[in-house]
């Protein structure tokens, strides 16, 4: 087994040479793509015409990390003892990465792929998952629901029952909430042969479900959180306005609303008693409760972790993994979080939660479930199971994209951003002499550091400033950086042309539509709006 070089405070010559090779690759690939977005991806993967190739871009890094990280997986002390080992490997591994989808090998420094398979239907759009036992997961999506094995891959059952959005299961009972305001109850005592028990009509779409001891709790927004028996009878309602995420254990229930997380005593379901209430920084979108911890997915605000102590909730900390967190699953002291663009694994304990690893996804990782160190992830178009490697972790860089360059020099301004280390090990961030003309400052003690380096302790963050080049032409690429995050060993901050910039005519746009509350169709023609400023807001049902 190849051992890694000892950790270094700064990037040494050997590692730098490997990094340089990677960066040269970046330079070659980072040609302007189109007039709108000329940013390169994490490691210079093929530039997509629409500039949305981030997941492709992560491919090389992820695969490098995977190839080298086998060391860490085979010998726990290697990776566990010093996270920067993995970093050096990730940078100088040299194995060319293939396109990474969530189904491809990932960095086993923190997790390894078990299996991947396409969604059951051509239009599956997985949105949530629940574990039925240690081997079977029930996954729901727009295209139906299915039962799959984790170590398979094998789809055991594929039901063409559309428009599932949330699912939960425990003790042989599973419940699916659909966008058609139904609650479908299944007997899953035999996971290989689930049996439909009944369907219950809900007053509104169930936003989240929990199952425990033959009872189902459903978050129904303005209708509160409703407790339903396995027979489909309403047992009671927890009177929370805008009830969204729910969790259930015995006679205790957790519910989120727009501003808070509340713990309830539901020993008498017809008269729930509020035990405690804690404020949240954003509306709670998903809840998981296990091992004395409660995790709350807060969408774009990340996630919050609480310790549940008797009738009290003690805030342990917040975390902002990449993406927007709409699904969380506690498995022992592992917390898995799905956030559109990435799946994160977080370590729970007595202190604040610590991010152990991030896996970027090909599509949108919408929902997940976990058991015994394994997770099933419902991606938009595929299903993937991951295995957590206990005790291992990696430094994890979070660096925003989204710099803006304007053709108008008057509108060009230095842009501040925050680099954060969410992992359990120190992280080094550095930049090369910028060929593109961008300058990244703040990497050492305040100086303009063409080749500076920054050390971030776990949990630290640092403010960096990117200064746009002064030339008249669109820069050839963004700001190059390197780190010892094995999943993001090198990359460039992309930028878009904005603020007085894109300048192309919007394509002719004639679309059908409607205007609430009138459901009848209206034809909208953008050409009719000439002479007015128009803001198009793209949105969809989550």
């Amino acid at each position: 087994m190849r051992r890694s070089a000892p950790a270094a405070q700064t990037i040494g010559p050997a590692r730098a040479a490997g990094l340089l090779a990677l960066l040269l690759g970046v330079g070659c690939a980072a040609s302007p793509k189109n007039s709108g977005s000329v940013g390169a991806d994490d490691d210079g993967g093929p530039a997509n015409a629409d500039g949305s190739g981030d997941s492709d871009g992560g491919a090389g890094d992820g695969a490098d990390g995977a190839a080298d990280g086998v060391d860490g997986a085979g010998d726990g002390t290697d990776g566990a003892g010093d996270g920067t080992d993995g970093a050096g490997d990730g940078a100088d591994g040299g194995d060319p990465g293939e396109g990474l989808t969530i189904g491809d090998p990932i960095s086993p420094i923190w997790a390894s792929k078990i299996s991947a398979l396409p969604g059951g239907s051509s239009f599956f759009e997985g949105t949530d998952a629940a574990m039925l036992d240690a081997e079977h997961a029930l996954v729901v999506g727009q295209g139906g629901w299915l039962v799959t094995t984790l170590s398979g891959p094998a789809v055991v059952v594929d039901a063409d029952e559309r428009r599932g959005i949330r699912v939960a299961s425990r003790g042989g009972l599973a419940a699916i909430a659909t966008r058609d305001r139904d609650l479908i109850l299944l007997d899953v005592a035999d996971p290989g042969a689930p049996r439909r028990l009944r369907s219950v009509s809900l007053p509104t779409q169930g936003e989240d479900i929990a199952v425990d001891a033959d009872r189902i709790l459903v978050g129904l927004r303005d209708e509160g959180a409703r407790l339903i028996s396995a027979e489909g009878d309403t047992l009671g309602t927890i009177p929370v306005a805008d009830a969204f995420a729910v969790a259930l254990q015995g006679d205790r229930a957790l519910v989120t609303d727009a501003a808070a997380l509340t713990l309830w005593d539901i020993a008498d379901p017809s008269a729930p008693i509020e035990l405690t209430r804690v404020e949240l920084s954003a509306p709670g979108r998903d809840l998981s409760w296990g091992e004395g911890h409660v995790a709350v997915g807060l969408g774009g605000a990340g996630l919050a972790v609480f310790a549940i102590e008797g009738e009290a909730l003690r805030h342990q900390g917040d975390l902002q993994p990449p993406g927007a967190i709409f699904s969380v699953a506690i498995d022992g002291l592992d917390l898995w979080a799905a956030g559109w663009e990435a799946v994160s694994l977080i370590q729970l304990g007595a202190g604040p939660p610590v991010l152990r690893g991030v896996q970027r996804t090909a599509e949108s990782a919408m929902g997940l479930a976990a058991i015994d160190g394994r997770a099933m992830i419902a991606d938009w178009f595929s299903l993937t199971s991951l295995q957590s490697n206990p005790g291992l972790g990696a430094p994890t860089l979070v660096l925003p994209d989204g710099l803006v360059w304007s053709p108008d020099p008057e509108l060009r301004a230095p842009q501040a951003m925050t680099a954060r280390n969410l992992g359990p090990f120190p992280l080094h961030l550095s930049t090369d002499a910028p060929s593109s003309g961008w300058r990244l400052t703040g990497l050492d003690s305040g100086g303009d550091t063409a080749a500076g380096a920054l050390r971030l302790a776990p949990g630290d963050d640092a403010v960096l400033t990117a200064s746009p080049p002064s030339g008249a032409s669109i820069p050839d690429g963004g700001v190059g950086w390197r780190s010892d995050d094995p999943d993001r060993a090198s990359g460039r901050l992309s930028f878009s042309v904005g603020r007085g910039g894109l300048g192309e005519p919007h394509p002719e746009m004639v679309l059908n539509g409607f205007q609430w509350p009138d459901p009848s169709g209206v034809v909208y023609d953008l050409a009719d709006q000439r002479g007015k400023i128009v803001l198009l807001v793209y949105f969809a049902l989550f």
Partner: protein
């Protein structure tokens, strides 16, 4: 200034019945097949939604903005209104 909501994913029925934004009363356009949604230059790492496209009085795209770009969008709107 005109604000249009554009839905590139859901059916008209879903957009009407289930999407909160539709209830703002703003016009909702259905971008079937995501034809326009996929046509814009976008920086990497955008969350899929929401994102905004700003078009000036001459019909030119003046900016594409993601979830965290609200200040830049506001600035650009101010600049366009002042033109």
């Amino acid at each position: 200034m005109v604000v249009w909501l554009v839905n590139p994913r859901d059916s008209a029925e879903v957009a009407y019945r289930f999407v909160d934004e539709a209830r703002s009363g703003l016009p909702v356009l259905l971008d079937t097949d995501s034809r326009f949604y996929n046509s814009y230059p976008r920086p990497t790492s955008f969350a899929p939604f929401p994102f905004q496209v700003l078009i000036d009085r001459d019909g030119l795209i003046r900016g594409v903005y993601g979830q965290y770009d609200a200040p830049a969008l506001h600035d650009q709107i101010d600049a366009l209104l002042a033109e």
